[in-house]
């Protein structure tokens, strides 16, 4: 873009290494009620220009993970361990000032609720330029020019006037566009979008998702998309991580997850959603019970108390032993389940697939 050139090291120094790699990330919060184990071992990789979807229900640890990548738990009571490698730098052990220099510059974030995520007292334009000026030694005029350009690019009409508006003068969809523009101010290589369209109407959601796709092509950024909406995942992502009880229970490319899922929880998720393109008169295939408490996680497989397929496990150790996240076949498809892979495939084709 303009003056702001990300300080990416020459590509050869990190040959073979993925752009973003998260290894065994753990985030725990001490509270009065006990230790909240929000994330217990998260692993994934992501390349530039690609989108990774993190799917899960509330309390699955997906938002907490994204804040950990941003380093926003630093200085709080949260205990973060594991490794996060971004473009050759390790973020978990990084000092606060170093991390601060990365934030907004190399990693930027789009939040769920743009109204509460923007400061109500400052003009939208000032909030945009602020992100630019803190990382670039440039005059205000340059920052303003870039902000107006980006507001225009994300589809805000008469951006030079809207630059001076306050957030409450924008509609919900426009605010989310402005949030995206704010995140793009420094041309970040990694964009984390935490439920970016949950608060929006479906027609506006479609606009925002299309916009994000277009911008990704233009800026070649890597995107982590956190959502509970499987439709959004199907539309936007190449790779998917399914989280449950703070753990990855299945991950792989989007088609593996949607067409060849092997974890009973993923089956449950896919069966739970009614389809807009099909007249399902039958019952939805819901998952019984409720998500686990992050303070008292079940021993063994986190999904065990709600799982209907435990009889297929030899030795019946679901309740006692945590299954490992194992790779299946050649692809990057990984599953955490005690049932053996052949049997899972059979179960899926025979029992699950017909009812989806």
């Amino acid at each position: 873009m303009t003056e702001s050139v990300t300080s990416a090291p020459p590509a050869d120094t990190r040959a073979g290494k993925p752009f973003l790699e998260v290894k065994d990330l753990q985030v725990h919060f001490p509270t009065d009620d006990g230790l909240v184990k929000a994330v217990n071992g998260l692993n994934f990789t992501l390349e530039r220009g690609k989108t990774l979807g993190i799917v899960g229900e509330s309390g699955s640890g997906k938002s907490v993970s994204s804040l950990a990548i941003m380093g926003l738990h630093k200085g709080s009571k949260a205990k973060v361990s594991g490794e996060i490698w971004l473009d050759g730098a390790e973020l978990v052990s990084m000092s606060v000032p170093e991390m601060r220099a990365l934030r907004g510059q190399q990693v930027a974030m789009i939040f769920q609720d743009p109204l509460s995520a923007m400061h109500p007292f400052y003009r939208v334009g000032d909030q945009l330029t602020e992100a630019f000026l803190v990382h670039n030694n440039a005059p205000k005029a340059v920052a303003k020019k870039r902000a107006v350009e980006l507001l225009d690019r994300v589809g805000i009409p008469s951006p030079d006037k809207r630059f001076f508006d306050y957030p409450h003068q924008f509609s919900g969809g426009m605010r989310q566009r402005a949030m995206i523009a704010m995140a793009l101010m420094c041309d970040p290589a990694l964009l984390i979008a935490d439920e970016p369209t949950t608060a929006l109407d479906v027609t506006v959601q479609a606009q925002i998702l299309d916009l994000m796709k277009d911008l990704q092509k233009e800026f070649n950024s890597a995107i982590i998309l956190i959502t509970h909406d499987l439709g959004v995942v199907a539309k936007m992502t190449e790779n998917v991580v399914v989280m449950y009880g703070g753990r990855v229970v299945e991950s792989g490319n989007v088609r593996d997850i949607f067409y060849r899922p092997e974890m009973p929880y993923t089956w449950g998720l896919l069966g739970s959603i009614p389809r807009v393109n099909r007249s399902g008169d039958g019952r939805l295939k819901s998952i019984r019970g409720t998500p686990p408490s992050l303070i008292n996680l079940p021993k063994g497989c986190p999904f065990q108390p709600r799982c209907d397929y435990q009889e297929h496990v030899e030795g019946a150790n679901c309740a006692t032993e945590l299954p490992e996240l194992l790779q299946i076949g050649q692809e990057q498809h990984r599953v955490r389940c005690h049932i053996n892979s052949e049997q899972r495939k059979q179960l899926f084709t025979e029992q699950i697939k017909p009812s989806l």
Binding site: S272, P274, D281, G282, R283, S286, I287
Partner: protein
Amino acid sequence: MSTTTSAEQATGKQAAGGELLLETRGLQRYFPVTQGIIFQKQTGAVKAVDGVDLSIRAGETLGVVGESGCGKTTTGRLVTRLDEPTGGTISFMGSDITHLNRARMRPFRREIQMIFQDPFSSLNPRQTVGTIIGAPFDIQKVKSETGTKKAVQTLMERVGLNPEHYNRYPHEFSGGQRQRIGVARALALRPKLIVCDEPVSALDVSIQAQIVNLLEDLQEEFDLAYLFIAHDLSVIRHISDRVAVMYLGKVVETADRDELYNHARHPYTHALLSAVPEADPDAEERRERIRLTGDVPSPLNPPSGCRFRTRCWKAQEICAAEEPPLMQIGAPGHQAACHFPEERDVV
């Protein structure tokens, strides 16, 4: 998930359409906007609901769908008489209930119940579950043959709650369980019609399915009619027999469920359906999408003529001049309010 259940469900759906329960004609709710230095005078009105005709038959589900601000929630509140209509009529089982006072409305309230969106705000945090579910008996002064406590525990069991938790408080339950409490309360007096205002939108996906299934089971068991209000087109498709699409206080299209989803005629319905992402990566890749521009206009000053014209790609002069009425089009019972309706494959 056996095929027999879905067949039964299907016949159940077909049989739906008994006696006419509820009918609204030209239902209106304007919220006055006032201004003035000392004396407030009315300078305008937010036309939240502006001439809505709906009808629900015993045992059927009417889905009302639309984006935020389209007036669907206000419609639900008018039907339950939580809000006073400023125009039009509501009749329930042949009686006009549009402007009944509280005392006269009382007997009708046993027949029309409500399930709310927010499982946290819909239960009084300072009452036990027993008190909450027993409130209908208490307020309506209805004596259950078995005694209120027994009746409440039976209800709890029916909606999938442990009856031993009778004395617990709402904060001890999860969102899904709380929504079950709300369902039990609505069910207590065996109503004929339940207005469900976004009953599953605050719940997690897996829990959402549990509640939808529960509602369907109860409908069959008790011959309930639902006015099901939601913004999620997938849920509406799953649960409804007939669907009404609302935009800016008006119904723009209404039809039987499959007719509407497969043969929609109104451009707004097309846009809505096309905007829903499908949980199917291959289908998503193939799909052609209608990109709507702009936001919903303010209901304070809705556009003249057709209210959708400001965002419609087919709008012409007549759309600004003349408001299109809801007109029969396609299959029986299919109505759309558009000057240029067309069929289009969007989902």
